[in-house]
Amino acid sequence: MSIFKYASPSTFYPLAGKIAPWFAVVAAMLGAVGLYLGLFRAPVDFQQGEVYRIIFIHVPAAWMAMLIYLVMAAYGVMALTFNTRLSSMMMEALAPTGAMFTVLALWTGALWGKPTWGTFWAWDARMTSTLILLFLYVGYLALINAIDDKKRADKAGALLVIVGSVNVPIIYFSVKWWNTLHQGYSVATSGSSMDPSMRMPMLVMTFACWAYAIAVALWRVRAIILEREKEAAWVANLYVASPPKTSGARA
């Protein structure tokens, strides 16, 4: 089928190489604009003063952490149903970035919690769920590294992320239930009631993170494709024709 023309690694490799830099440039620009707006333009919050600016990276990071996991689950469904190797490679490419965003969300959440509630870790519902999401990422990465046969690792990883993604809403719901049962803290990101000049930087930063994640995932999937297709014919003549421009010309 034509749609699978791009699903074969050999045709996707150059395509990814071409579009990844564009996303990187967009990410850098949006990131710069977002940081500028967030740090310089956004007004001081009457309650939390300057420290609230942390949400300009905390909230996008938390959203990205969740979004990337769900995108991985979508690729997982494709990997298991259409048996395309590329979708499981995309999963493997996205996972480290998703885990990074989760760590970033937890780190910035803790640093924001200390001045606001006096403790780095307040067992707040969203933060606890993000911590469990990090466990899911680590579980996936551990599983695919523990299985040697790539074909099995791909499918096992896909199944795990699909099962995990079914559980993510359940986890978020149960943690919220557990949190209201014990104490009522909650991260005060009342998104809607925020002053527009505060919401704008956050949106810009979110799109910056999207562009960044796409660029990094495409670059990493290129590395994964090369690692897996080392012996393939198309890889060999790929480098005979055009020596890589990054490092010195190879004999």
């Binding site: 048996n83 040697d148 046969d149 790539k150 897996r228 080392k230 012996e231």
Partner: protein, 254 residues
Amino acid sequence: MIALAPPSLRVENLTLSRGGRPLFRRLGFAIRSGEALVLRGANGSGKTSLLRMLAGLTEADEGEIFWDESVCKTASAKLRLNALYLGHANALKDDLTAIENLADALSFDGVNVTQARQVDALERVGLSSRQHLVARRLSQGQKRRIGLARLVLSGKPLWLLDEPTNALDAEGVALFIRIIDEHLLAGGMACIATHLSMQIHAPMRELSLDEQVLLESSEAQAATPAAGINEVAGVDGAARVTHVAHIAQAAEAT
């Protein structure tokens, strides 16, 4: 009889690579009713993987398997219904006795066999006095014989056997030859992966996985020309003889 219309198994351009290393590429062959195909090849040449593919356990990278001329995905239920796969492992539970293991295996095969016939089968394979012995205390050869008893009773048309005679003594091997001859005579089919020579009397062909060359068995007297012939059974059953070089070329083209 095993089945009304004689079943046949045909395989076309089967490709499998393990850990980045291609085991075989665009492999094609057929097994007709009443015939045994013996898989030859060095260790790690993919004999077991090919058997497991025919058994519907392993998925091929490419290629189709035709059972009774209807194509089925390589790891499909239809294949599993008609095949009995005996791997290296004896597939016995150490805590169960010989008769319990046999009964369990047959019930999971979906076959209703009376206790009496199970005891007869165990007697036939020389385990009558040990049927209530826990499998842990049986020797490798005796465990293999439980597998033979299961073969006899399962009534599956296609037998996929991985080194069936290892750990069997001379008398055991003779017993195995008798059982498989009966099976083939009755119209059954078998695919046997082994490096030992098989004195099967029924028509037998050998497929060498190292060079992907299908050699006619001695009975068929087809002289093997110097270049080696890969006989790919056409749809109408007439053997289309294609030169091995052509196959190798096609393989590189993909």
